[in-house]
């Protein structure tokens, strides 16, 4: 087919290699830096990295980012029963700085950090290794995975414990309520309908949801509707505000305007027009549409 589309995508990192090391008994090995950055993630046990003078201990669930230092000889020592991942990567051509015609966005990655979502990180690392094993896998695909991996690490440094604790049942309550809202936000629904549908006592459901999501169910419905409306405002310019209000489950357009203003800090009309203009403010709002 000759109607392929062509996109320019950023390639901020160059993947070199990745490996998963599993050791049953304690081992000490030299760590080859290959003039690369190295990301270490320990998924089980303890690992020590160091040279003659100093060393750093990395426990399970932590990541360590090592800068390229050609003169240093590093050793990696794993306790018995450990599992860790190593990724080698470079920044392409350090001399010429990346030039996108937008303000650059720097992501700060801490040297030693605790993974905020170790499962997600593990899964991304496995996908990376899987791609590496397969013949003829795309380099860009691996670079993309590497970016997501580094982003996970970056998030661990900036935010701490945003997620509710990883227990299974409460997450399920929140996600079931959210899924119901997502499917029915355009209808006249409230906490009582959701509780009846999911077979919970309404008070209990409200309390549980509020505790876990830090948000009442009513507010969650409003938020979903407002974000949906925001997206519709941008995508369907042929509909006016009151039609969009109706589509998103509001019978009273003035009420919709009030709720929208409160959530988005902008009226629906201003939002629609502000978003089409260029500028950092508009761009920021666009990403908040995300719903």
């Amino acid at each position: 087919m000759n109607n392929d589309l062509s996109f320019q995508i950023a390639n901020p990192v160059e993947p070199i290699a990745g490996s998963l090391e599993v050791s049953d008994s304690a081992v000490v090995k030299p760590l080859r830096l290959r003039e690369c950055h190295v990301l270490l993630f320990v998924s089980r046990g303890n690992v020590c990295i160091g040279s003659a003078g100093s060393h750093i201990r990395v426990n399970a669930g932590k990541t360590l980012l090592i800068d390229p230092e050609p003169s240093r000889r590093l050793r990696i020592a794993a306790d018995s029963d450990t599992e860790h991942y190593l990724l080698w990567f470079r920044r392409p051509d350090c001399g010429s700085e990346f030039d996108l015609r937008v303000s650059s966005r720097l992501l700060g990655i801490p040297a030693l950090a605790t993974a905020r979502r170790p499962e997600r990180l593990t899964y991304l690392l496995r996908r990376y290794l899987h791609q590496q094993e397969r013949r003829g896998s795309s380099r860009l695909l691996r670079a993309g995975l590497l970016v997501l991996i580094l982003r996970e690490v970056a998030m661990s440094g900036t935010t701490e414990a945003v997620d509710p604790p990883e227990e299974n049942w409460p997450n399920t309550i929140v996600s079931r309520v959210d899924a119901y809202i997502a499917a029915h936000y355009s209808e006249q629904i409230g906490t009582i309908d959701i509780a009846a549908e999911l077979r919970y006592n309404p008070d209990y459901l409200e309390r549980a949801y509020r505790h876990l999501a830090d948000l009442s169910i009513r507010d969650a419905i409003h938020l979903r509707r407002v974000h949906e409306a925001a997206a519709q405002l941008l995508l369907h310019r042929e509909y006016n505000v009151s039609e969009i209000a109706t589509m998103c489950g509001y019978n009273d357009v003035n009420y919709f305007r009030r709720v929208f203003k409160k959530a988005m800090n902008s009226t629906p009309n201003r939002y629609r027009h502000g978003a089409s203009a260029d500028g950092p403010r508009a761009r920021k709002r666009n990403t908040r549409v995300s719903a």
Partner: protein, 285 residues
Amino acid sequence: MFQLNLSNPIEPLNAGLFVSPGYGTHDTRIVDSYELLFVVSGTLKMFEESEQFAVQANQTLILCPGLKHGGAAPYQPDLNFYWVHFRVREAGTGTVGLSVPKLAPVADPEFLVELFCQYISDQEEELRAETTIGSARELGFSHLVTLMLCEIGSDVPHTTEALRSRTVTMRQRSIANRVQKYIDSRFRESIGTTSIAAELGYSTDYLERSFHHARGHSIVEALHDRRVSEARMLLRGSGRKNISEIAFACGFSDPRYFRRVFKRITGLTPGQFRSLYSRTHINTH
């Protein structure tokens, strides 16, 4: 602190999963963003200007900004598709060209589904967090979409295929394809290298050698890949099957063995994997 510049010309707006209500047609409209559609089940019939597209399951379609598009036929009842809208900023130096077919089959549909699920669950989390979005998150969205495009398109078209064809004979390739087809249709049953060889009429050793040479991994690995990919699909699904039921449904006779294989391939236990994908966002219009 290590600083990495992750500016990305791909600027996503929002994404979701469309579940057919069984009636209605896609709106006819012109939007100012690209739209990537990925059909999970059923067939999506769309037009863009004068061109018609029938997008089958496990295929993707990219619609371009500024062109009139819409549904060419009413939604089928079994139609499900993921969608994401994105814009493309003008890029300077430091970017790489990626060629993406307009309509294409996806080699690893399960991976693409997972990328969409990650996108949607991050989107939900961000909705709930209500705070200003950290740049790490914001960047994640654009790189997730970039990764989707990488999965569909390629930077080095066909060179690897050409490389492989020099060393792998036609016969080996056709044997490998037959084995893969057999695995794809029968993996839910208790099959193994021996029974596949018997069924296809080859000696086990010869079959294994040919397959390994053509694909670079063994028949058992291919079978495990297929079964685990099915398990990934079931674990993401809404039906609350327990892990043993899922193991049996994917052709594993021993749930403990299933756990081991699953963990080896994905790095997670089936339970951990399920909790990764417990949030979905569905729209029906």
